[in-house]
């Protein structure tokens, strides 16, 4: 098919794609205006990007389109006609399908079972021979395919993401909403999937609305962009005519952002962290970390990149003492480090694990108590190691809350009531307000807004400049490229590639991430 002729502006040639338009859509939850008079138009056959920070109202908008929420004001037009959508089923009937960030596949069912059961008209008795035959034929007509008869639990994250998209196409949904579809994919898988969707949109088969944070994907694959900020439409236009700087200004407004801390060259430090032949087994007794070797010197950030699920979380959990290390050892300055609380104190090791509310905090304990986890049983917060002094604890917490700008109603508020950025700041306050020799960081900025991200990254660089050895495990390649002095790639539980930041590039790292 001649794709050059079929521009997205040619709805007459669009075969089956549908277009939608929101008109003055608002959603108010109590006193919170989550969405304020947003009108966006997505034409048939268009690949449209929806940009915005966390909490900007992207998911509220999409949930209104999908029928999970009823908009307080405003209408939805499908192909120019007003179409009220009251349930997700109405959206499905209108041909609007969504691929969620978390998977909605049923793990114990096979790919074929998942696809058939999601159909609106499942026969009471399923003739698997016929269904599998039809699914095979459907897969042949699609640009990518996944194994049909394996349980979904055994598929890789990339295959699951592809299956989610295939499922929507199998259901004949011609307007696809994708919520950050590439976060679990390698760069090359992401390019493959987005490229194919782009081609299908060009051919007029589908219309795509993609929620994303990644400017690279916006410029490479999408036609138009709409930006939301604080629930309002902040701007948009044709991708070619907007620069990345324009888009980021629309996203974050004119707010002042703390500049990345200056990186001091050649920091003097005597610290050395060595991970020697570490083996960590997962719940199913399979080595998730399989003989990993890595050395990190003081004054250096080593960024470990990798597709999620290659043993990164197991590695961080083992280093945090949440999981036993089955073989190998961790050495700091040549001495054995046992990942226990006393080891953490002795070697001045600190950590910022991913999902801090789950891994680094007790959600229902107060902010002050959470901030005191490293010090509550030591003077001056305790006598003899067991007689605690809550007043001293609260005082110290109050000081740190102010210094690290944690927004909390009081020191006694349960930490689970704080926003994600403030939980992360409270943990930063606990972990970084000491003399740090070794810092273990995992996905520190996941799900945070721009301002918090810049601040947290600056804190990490500060620690490096002060001579700490920093291990940064992240699924965000941009974060790794921004922060690291050296980049390592983790694939199937091993470090497969290490290079100084100046001697590598995104493509090389991507190739190793894909396991080549």
């Amino acid at each position: 098919m001649d794709t050059a002729v079929l521009t997205p502006e040619a709805p007459a040639k669009a075969k089956r794609a549908i277009g939608i338009e929101t008109v003055g859509m608002s959603k108010i939850f109590g006193s919170l205006v989550a969405l304020d008079d947003v009108s966006i138009k997505v034409k048939p056959g268009e690949f449209h990007a929806l940009l915005g920070e966390n909490g900007a109202g992207k998911s509220t908008l999409v949930k209104c389109i999908m029928g999970f929420y009823q908009p307080t004001h405003g209408q939805l037009l499908v192909n120019g006609h007003e179409t009220p959508i009251r349930h997700p089923q109405d959206a499905r009937a209108a041909g609007i399908g969504m691929v969620y960030q978390h998977f909605t596949l049923v793990p114990c069912l096979t790919a074929a079972e998942n696809m058939v059961i999601s159909r609106a008209n499942v026969p009471a008795v399923i003739d698997w021979k016929k269904e599998i035959g039809e699914l095979e034929a459907f897969m042949d007509s699609m640009p990518f395919r996944v194994p049909l008869t394996e349980p979904v639990a055994t598929l890789s994250a990339g295959e699951k993401q592809k299956l989610e998209i295939l499922k929507q196409l199998y259901l004949d949904q011609r307007f696809l909403i994708l919520d950050e579809p590439t976060s679990v994919l390698t760069p090359s898988e992401a390019d493959e999937v987005l490229g194919l969707l782009h081609d299908m949109a060009r051919a007029g088969d589908i219309t795509v609305l993609m929620i994303t944070h990644k400017f690279r994907e916006v410029t490479a694959f999408t036609d138009n962009v709409s930006v939301l900020r604080r629930g309002k439409y902040a701007g948009g236009g044709t991708v070619g005519e907007l620069s990345t700087a324009d888009m980021s200004r629309m996203m974050i407004g004119e707010a002042e952002i703390r500049k990345s801390a200056e990186r001091i060259a050649d920091v003097e430090s005597s610290v050395e962290l060595e991970l020697a032949g570490i083996v960590v087994k997962d719940e199913e007794d399979i080595a998730a970390v399989d003989g990993l070797n890595l050395k990190i010197g003081g004054g250096e950030i080593v960024g470990v990149a990798g597709v999620s699920g290659n043993g990164q979380s197991e590695l961080v959990e083992a280093l945090s003492g949440q999981r036993p290390i089955n073989d190998g050892g961790v050495f700091i300055n040549g001495e054995v480090f046992d990942c226990s609380r006393s080891g953490y104190d002795l070697f001045k090791v600190f950590g910022l694990p991913e999902e801090p509310l789950r891994n680094a905090a007790v959600p229902r304990m107060s902010v002050a108590e959470n901030i005191a986890f490293r010090t509550f049983d030591k003077a001056p917060e305790a006598n003899l190691g067991w007689w605690l002094k809550p007043a001293v604890m609260k005082n110290r917490a109050a000081g740190l809350i102010e210094r690290y700008r944690v927004k909390t109603p009081s020191t006694d508020t349960p930490i689970e009531n704080l926003s994600g950025g403030n939980v992360q700041r409270a943990i930063l306050a606990r972990e970084l307000s000491h003399d740090v020799k070794v810092l273990i960081v995992a996905n520190p900025c996941f799900g945070l807004d721009f301002a918090s991200v810049a601040e947290i990254r600056a804190q990490i660089i500060d620690q490096r400049n002060n001579g700490a050895a920093v291990l940064l495990v992240s699924e965000d390649l941009d974060e790794i490229l921004e922060l690291s002095d050296r980049v390592a790639v983790m694939s199937e539980g091993k470090i497969t590639y290490v290079a100084p930041i100046g001697e590598t590039d995104r493509n090389t790292i991507g190739t190793y991430m894909a396991g080549h």
């Binding site: 969620y100 059961i117 999601s118 698997w128 639990a153 719940e283």
Partner: protein, 306 residues
């Protein structure tokens, strides 16, 4: 001589296995269905006892034991749907409700069952499948109650339906991923209430076997924890109805060791051998707690695996 004794023991264990396994099989199949939908019903012991009482009473009043079996099933549906509905209320724990339902079921069975301890009700006729044999012990062992075959048919039908029917897929989907089920417009609570009620029916039928076939009378000590052991059996069978048959036979055989040994005159350690099913339960629980494949096959929404 020794061969003769061994053969006698094996034959009476076979007969015992078939007899004792039937209630295990029904309760385990009911529990499998319930757990496949993502709920645990620990109250099936109550269904078993109430089913036994109901079956005996209805059989006594109508003179038709099969009507008793059906009535026992509906007594099970009553308890099962009660469990299902209570557990659908917000923040209700299915395990705690199960234990309450167990006490409730046995309690009302004892309350209404008092007048039926003395009278004798018509029992289910066994099928004499061993008539071809010379050996009387083999003939006795092959005197099989039709409910045993019903159980096997139910197991096969359930196994088939879980893989090949819309209902089967919906039950498995609900049991493995509630968000996915909701996303497809399925109401998880309704599916679970239905699955718990249907599971309760099967457990009730299992109870009918106790009072109408073997041991074959109604009294308050009729069930000795079969309903609870069946829960362990489901884990052992890894939520597969076909494996439930095998697991039930194994438990039945273990339960038959004591009587079998006694039948050849070995009464030493009788009580120890009678405890065999309980010991087996203990070992199975330890072994399956360590088995990762069992963890993998457990439905994802079960409150104990989450």
């Amino acid at each position: 001589m020794n061969d003769g004794i061994l053969a006698t023991i094996l034959i009476s264990m076979l007969g015992g296995a078939i007899r004792v396994s039937t209630p295990f099989m029904f309760v385990a199949l009911g529990e499998t269905l319930t757990e496949k939908s993502g709920r645990i019903n620990l109250g099936l012991e109550g269904n078993l006892v109430l089913g036994a009482m109901t079956a005996y009473a209805v059989s006594y009043h109508t003179g038709n034991p099969w009507l008793g079996v059906i009535a026992a099933g509906f007594a099970g549906v009553f308890l099962g749907s009660m469990h299902g509905i209570i557990c659908s209320l917000p923040k209700v724990n299915d395990i705690a409700v199960g234990i309450a339902m167990m006490s409730f079921g046995t309690g009302i069975a004892f309350f209404f069952g008092k007048p039926y301890i003395q009278p004798s009700a018509p029992r289910l006729e066994s099928l004499p499948l061993g008539n071809w044999s010379e050996s009387s012990s083999l003939r006795q062992a092959l005197d099989i109650n039709p409910l045993f075959f019903v159980g096997i048919v139910v197991a096969i039908a359930m196994w088939w339906a879980l893989a090949n029917s819309r209902w089967g897929l919906i039950v498995r989907m609900t049991g493995d991923s509630e968000p996915a089920a909701r996303a497809m417009g399925v109401q998880p609570h309704q599916v679970r209430i239905a699955a718990t009620a249907a599971g309760g029916f099967l457990a009730g039928v299992g109870g009918a076997f106790l009072s109408l076939s073997y041991p074959g009378s109604w009294n308050e000590g009729l069930s000795s924890g079969q309903g609870l052991m069946a829960v362990a059996l489901v884990i052992f069978a890894r939520w597969n109805p076909l494996r439930c048959i095998i697991a039930a036979l194994l438990f039945g055989a273990a339960g038959a060791i004591g009587p079998a040994l006694q039948s050849v005159g070995i009464s030493q350690g009788y009580y120890f051998f009678n405890a065999a099913p309980y010991i087996l339960t203990l070992f199975i629980m330890i072994a399956s707690a360590r088995s990762s494949s069992s963890a993998r096959e457990a439905p994802g929404e079960l409150s104990i695996t989450k």
